[in-house]
Symmetry: C2
Subunit: 191 residues, 2 copies
Amino acid sequence: MERIPKRQRHQQLSRLLEENPFLTDRELTRQLKVSIQTIRLDRLELAIPELRERLKLMAERSYDSVRSLPLHEVIGDILDLQLDKSGISLFEISDEHVFSRSGIARGHHVFAQANSLAVAVINDEIALTASADIRFIRPARLGEKCIAKAYVRASGEQKGKAKVEVFTYVGEEMVFQGNFIIYRSAGESKT
Amino acid sequence: MERIPKRQRHQQLSRLLEENPFLTDRELTRQLKVSIQTIRLDRLELAIPELRERLKLMAERSYDSVRSLPLHEVIGDILDLQLDKSGISLFEISDEHVFSRSGIARGHHVFAQANSLAVAVINDEIALTASADIRFIRPARLGEKCIAKAYVRASGEQKGKAKVEVFTYVGEEMVFQGNFIIYRSAGESKT
DNA sequence: CTTCTTTTGGCACCAGGTATTAAAGGCTAT
DNA sequence: ATAGCCTTTAATACCTGGTGCCAAAAGAAG
């Protein structure tokens, strides 16, 4: 009668702290009806740090997520980039990108990856999207890794406009395709 | 020689903690070369809470910002919505939306506002962007307020596809125009 | 009954403080 | 210089939310 409760209690404890990480051990004793020592042994076994450590970790996370906001410059991680030729980026669909009802990615995130890549692949001081023609072929879902491949079809170094085609895949399946026209500041920086 | 330093020290202390809120009083002692009691009097005067309180506040902030992330469902504030007819939303271009070099909004943010609105205006359980044809007419800049207006051209309640046209303005000027084809779940839940 | 795991309890100790009282240093006005 | 005042430093008691360690009690299992 005391064998099973331990694992159950561990689950309850984990759940409680997931719901509200601000609970002290003392408050947990009230909820779980065991002594404070038991709570502490449990945390030890489950490798759950003490309240103050939890708060510190949360504070640190939010602190450097603010600091790393400039990374927001490009949506997705650039895996390969050949300026004025082609580029590849990876973007993983996570909670904040999907409709919570359906787990399907909101279109503008998939678009954002493609658009970022299309702009990044253009070798110029200033590159802006002028227009685009896009198709969402099948929905991208929570947890899926989207690989976008961009190809510069006409770099238009004189004309001031480049044509970039982007295909986004999840595994073998194409989920998105887009044709972008990118303004460029008329042929400058050659790296 | 001890009159001015107090205010200076207060400024330095504020600055240090702004740069790094994770400093203990003891560490501040080392940086400011005064006793720990002075640091504590200073914090008292400046109404700066102790380290642990600071961490807790940061953790709480990040915690309920996570909780309020579902607000992220729609990019921009919906000002008016007539389901299956039209909608208006407002989106203000701020730092995190622009290229830091030029202060020009990245296209996918302007697109996201339009796309969100086009999806929101469709009165159905599930609505997904199928394809779009978009044009960035002139760049939107830091601080500008973008008003997007969406009009449902063909609601296609039978066909399962709706056509939505979106125009985005800054003041009188049009900055973006897009034609969206939106999948709708045709009266019932269809994946 | 003995043995093992699990649960409690108690105590010392720690960080990072608060709160309070007191003393010392310095500056100014009378 | 002497008193009055602000500022700084010091000392002490106390608090929270723990860790670490040891020992005892309570079941469960052989």
